[in-house]
Each structure stands twice: as structure tokens, then as C-alpha cells.
């Protein structure tokens, strides 16, 4: 075991893993975190905690993750390269480990021009690829960057990375995934998938390269709540691709039935993704829909979650 996290154990046991995400509040009200987290208890194997997603200032990912640990719900702490230099990144990883956080997702982060601090200075001192290698070095060699002394204590992190199978340069995306695995990624959570055929093609390449055997690939899914949301996501969310038939299907039902249709599409997609060889699990990004996760997980036949 690299980290001993529940997510690692579930994947190690060959079970189909399920993760979801929790968005921290814009402020200090921990009761919001606790309320959202209770909906997720027992429904998933681990819960991603977003790190100031869309570059909007929120309760920190590390503090929110620590609250989940206290509640006995396993977090995947997301950490972006956008807001921290390498000193802060390493220090925060120490902090996260010390607080009992065992999964990390190393990502670039949405550009700050999307958020509510548009004139912030970007950091990107190291990139997500370099952060993966850094966490692996901290965990496996017990060393930080450019320093050969052994650190005090362990950094048992299960290391995650993001992948977008749909964005240009398409041909490079699988090679880019290989780079991430070589850097240290133990698991991958993909961008939201709406085009199953395209994803299947990508997985063919990934399998041909043997990458599915070197890391656990969790297929990302976001249930659509309405036509407006689907259209917004297709047009505004970085790297998002929603094919027309899906948009039309959501648009084709009355507004009050759109969410139901979104869940139906979600369940169908889960079925199809389960059939694709090399897919190790599902990552549900149900944006501000934490309370719907019990119903979604149930209907998609993702329950009960294994206890290992």
C-alpha cells in the first residue's frame, strides 16, 4: 500500500471505484461542509474537495478536507499550481498528511481570469506534471525538491491526476497521460464525459499503450440539471465537450423534467462506461448537487460501496 487510503484499497481490491466532489463554501461556515458531506457518507469511496474551483476564493481545500477526515469521510484533496509556489505546495502537502489526508489530486487549476480575483498574479511555479513527481518523491524517497535530506515523518499520499481525452492536441492526450503516470500518478480522474464513443476510442489508445495497467482510470461524469446548464457548460467550461445529441435530448424535455432526463443519461453512461475495459471507476462531478448523490448512486447501481 502506498497510502492506505480507502480509495487505494478499493482499487487495489479490483472493485469498481466511485468518487464524487464537494465544493467548499465561500466563507467559514463549516456547517455547510458537514451538511453536504453527510449526503455523501457511504455513497462513494472518496470525496474530491475542490481547490478554489473556477478561481473563486473559497474555504481552502486543505481545511475542508481535514473536516471530512474528522467526520470519517475520506477526502481527495485537490491542489492547484495556480496559487502556490513550490514552498507552499510542499508545506501544504506536509500539512495535509499530518492532518490525515491520504489522497491528493494535482492539477493546473482554472486560470484566475475566470474567477473573482481577475487581477491576481498567477503562480504556476511548478506545473501539475512536476507536482506529481514532487509528491511521489516526498512519499517514496522521503525527500523534498532539490534537497537530499530525509524529511521527518511520512507522506502517505495516493496520487491522482486529471486527464482530458477530448481536447486538442487529441493525438497527444494519451502520451500526456503516460507522462503523468511516469511522473507519479496512481489514479486518473478524467474530464466530464458526454461522448462515450470518443472516450472509447481514447481508451483503445490508452490500453494499447498499456496505461490502464499502470494506473487506475476513473471516468468523469457530470449529471446535467437543465438545458441552460448543459449549454453553459458546453460553451464556457474549459475543455468541456458536449455533443449535440446530448444537448438536444436535454432540450427536448420540459424544463421541470430536465434534471430527471439528466440523471437518466448519467445512468446510461455509467452502464456504458462500466463495459469499457480499463475503466477502473467513476468520478461524479455533480456540481452543487451533493444532496442528489444518494439517489444518483442508487439509480446508477453503484451501491452499496465495498467496505475493505
Amino acid at each position: 500500500m502506498k497510502s492506505g487510503s480507502n480509495l487505494e484499497k478499493v482499487l487495489e481490491a479490483g472493485q469498481f471505484a466511485v468518487t464524487t466532489e464537494l465544493g467548499p463554501p465561500k466563507g467559514t461556515d463549516i456547517s455547510i461542509v458537514k451538511k453536504k458531506a453527510e449526503f455523501l457518507r457511504g455513497m462513494v469511496d472518496a470525496v474530491n474537495v475542490t481547490d478554489c474551483q473556477t478561481a473563486v476564493v473559497r474555504l481552502s481545500s486543505i481545511a475542508t478536507s481535514a473536516v471530512l477526515v474528522q467526520m470519517g469521510i475520506e477526502p481527495v484533496m485537490q491542489m492547484t499550481c495556480r496559487d502556490r509556489n513550490r514552498i507552499a505546495i510542499q508545506s501544504d502537502i506536509f500539512g495535509a498528511s499530518a492532518l490525515g489526508i491520504k489522497n491528493i489530486l494535482a492539477i493546473s487549476g482554472d486560470h484566475h481570469s475566470f474567477g473573482n480575483q481577475k487581477n491576481a498574479r498567477k503562480v504556476f511555479d511548478i506545473d501539475s506534471m512536476q507536482m506529481l513527481a514532487l509528491v511521489k518523491r516526498m512519499r517514496d524517497e522521503k525527500k523534498i525538491l532539490n534537497d537530499e535530506t530525509i524529511i521527518q515523518g511520512e507522506v502517505p499520499m495516493f496520487i491522482g491526476a486529471a486527464a482530458n481525452p477530448f481536447a486538442p492536441p487529441l493525438e497527444f492526450r494519451a502520451m500526456h497521460l503516460r507522462k503523468k503516470i511516469e511522473s507519479g500518478a496512481d489514479f486518473i480522474q478524467t474530464q466530464s464525459i458526454y461522448d462515450i464513443d470518443k472516450f472509447r476510442e481514447w481508451m483503445n489508445i490508452v490500453r494499447d499503450m498499456g496505461l490502464d495497467r499502470r494506473c487506475a482510470i476513473l471516468a468523469g461524469l457530470t449529471p446535467l440539471k437543465s438545458h441552460v446548464m448543459a449549454k453553459y457548460m458546453a460553451e464556457n467550461v474549459p475543455g468541456m465537450h458536449i455533443p449535440d445529441p446530448v444537448l438536444k435530448r436535454i432540450a427536448g424535455v420540459p424544463r421541470e423534467k430536465a434534471a430527471e432526463e439528466g440523471i437518466r443519461i448519467f445512468c446510461e453512461h455509467v452502464e456504458q462506461l462500466k463495459e469499457i475495459r480499463g475503466v477502473a471507476g467513476i468520478h461524479i462531478m455533480a456540481i452543487e448537487w451533493e444532496h442528489k448523490i444518494p439517489e444518483i448512486a442508487e439509480r446508477a447501481k453503484l451501491l452499496p460501496r465495498p467496505v475493505i
Binding site: Q130, A162, A163, A167, P169, F172, K179, S183, G239
Partner: protein
């Protein structure tokens, strides 16, 4: 070369409004080439400021002098008399020139007339594009001559990020191409993809004080003084 643009006239006015004899010093170097701080632009600055002062009932006297380059001590010395006769100086050089002028005449208030934007290229007359962040460790060798530090909105060394739009543009704007998409396409066309298949390690930034460059061949002259 360095590209710059004039500050809003009201902002410049705010800096000089308490002075009466004002010297506008242009630069014949980069800011002249990018049509922001050369002869013509410095004369225009004087004209605009004079007019504004008149409107506000301020009686100020402006003189103009354009020197070859403000980032060179000899050229700066050429305007000693003019500077001494003035209450303050507006420089339309880049930020480096403004500082050099301010240091050379350290008892005189020196104000910037321009905002220095970037090191860039001339796309066309009056249209410039940033191309270099002076990172001190040129990456262009393995990126097909496209700078990831400058042209990628996140300055990624192992890009692309997941945000590339389907049309190959950057998540930040449809008007900005994804630098890593371009890097990939160019390297592929040159059959050099192996350049980006391995992981590029973290950059060794040298972010401290002002950088100093001793050109090759000049080490003995400068390093012994230390």
C-alpha cells in the same frame, strides 16, 4: 524589442501638476520604435500636457529632449544642463530607462510617461505581440520555437492543461491559441515529438533583486571589482 504605451494623460498630469518647469525626455531606442516614446510622441505628450495645464489654469513650461537611449550613461549625461534647469522630468523610456535617468539625476523627481508592456515583436505597424518573458533559461530548443513561459497562459512546462478549447484556443480566450497545441503541431511536423515526451523538471528561477549580466569576454573587467 521592448514595447510600451503612453500612460493616461490625467495620470501623468497628476504626477507633475505641482511643478512648473518640466522636461519631457524621449528615448530613441525601443520606445521610439514602438511609437510610444520617440521624438514625435514626446512632442505630442508636451502638447497634450500643455493643453491640460492651460485648461486647469496652471502655468507650466515644458521643454523636450530626445536622447539616443536612456539605458546608457553617456547619452544620459548629454542632458545634464536641461535636467538641472527643470523642476522635474518625465521620461518616455521603458521602466529601465526611467530608473537609469532617475538614478543619474537622483535629486530630481523623475516620472514615467509610459507603461512598459513587454518584450515583443512587430506584427504590423502599431501592432505588437509579446514573445519573451526574459526567464533566463530559454526553453525554445525543445518547444519548436514557441515559448511556453510567454505564450501559455499558465506558463506550463509540461502542457497542455485540460482547458484547451476544441478549436485549439486557450481556455482564457478564443483569441489566444493554446501554446501547447501549437508546440505539439510544430514538433510533429518536424518529426521531433520526442522533445516533449519526457518530463521537463521544475524551472530554476532566479527571482532575486535586479538581474546582472556580465557578457562573455567581460568577466575579468567586472568580476574582479565584484
Amino acid at each position: 524589442m521592448i514595447k510600451a504605451r503612453r500612460k493616461p494623460i490625467e495620470e501623468i498630469f497628476g504626477m507633475i501638476k505641482d511643478y512648473r518647469r518640466i522636461l519631457c525626455t524621449g528615448c530613441g531606442g525601443c520606445t521610439s520604435v514602438c511609437l510610444a516614446g520617440g521624438q514625435r510622441e514626446t512632442l505630442m505628450l508636451r502638447q497634450d500636457l500643455s493643453m491640460l495645464c492651460k485648461q486647469k489654469g496652471i502655468n507650466a513650461f515644458f521643454s523636450v529632449s530626445v536622447i539616443e537611449r536612456q539605458c546608457n550613461p553617456e547619452y544620459l549625461s548629454d542632458i545634464e544642463d536641461l535636467v538641472q534647469q527643470s523642476d522635474c522630468v518625465i521620461s518616455t523610456a521603458c521602466g529601465a530607462g526611467v530608473q537609469f535617468l532617475a538614478g543619474r539625476y537622483s535629486t530630481k523627481p523623475v516620472f514615467p510617461g509610459l507603461n512598459t508592456m513587454f518584450t515583443g515583436v512587430d506584427i504590423s505597424t502599431g501592432l505588437y505581440m509579446e514573445r519573451c518573458r526574459s526567464c533566463g533559461d530559454c526553453q525554445l530548443g525543445y518547444t519548436g520555437g514557441i515559448c511556453p513561459v510567454t505564450c501559455c497562459s499558465k506558463s506550463l512546462f509540461n502542457g497542455p492543461c485540460g482547458g484547451t478549447n476544441l478549436d485549439g484556443s486557450c481556455e482564457v480566450s478564443r483569441d489566444i491559441p493554446c501554446a501547447w497545441n501549437e508546440i505539439y503541431n510544430r514538433l510533429k511536423a518536424q518529426n521531433r515529438l520526442e522533445n516533449i515526451l519526457s518530463i521537463h523538471p521544475p524551472m530554476e528561477w532566479t527571482d532575486k533583486g535586479p538581474g546582472i549580466l556580465v557578457q562573455s569576454g567581460y568577466e575579468n573587467r567586472y568580476n574582479k571589482k565584484n
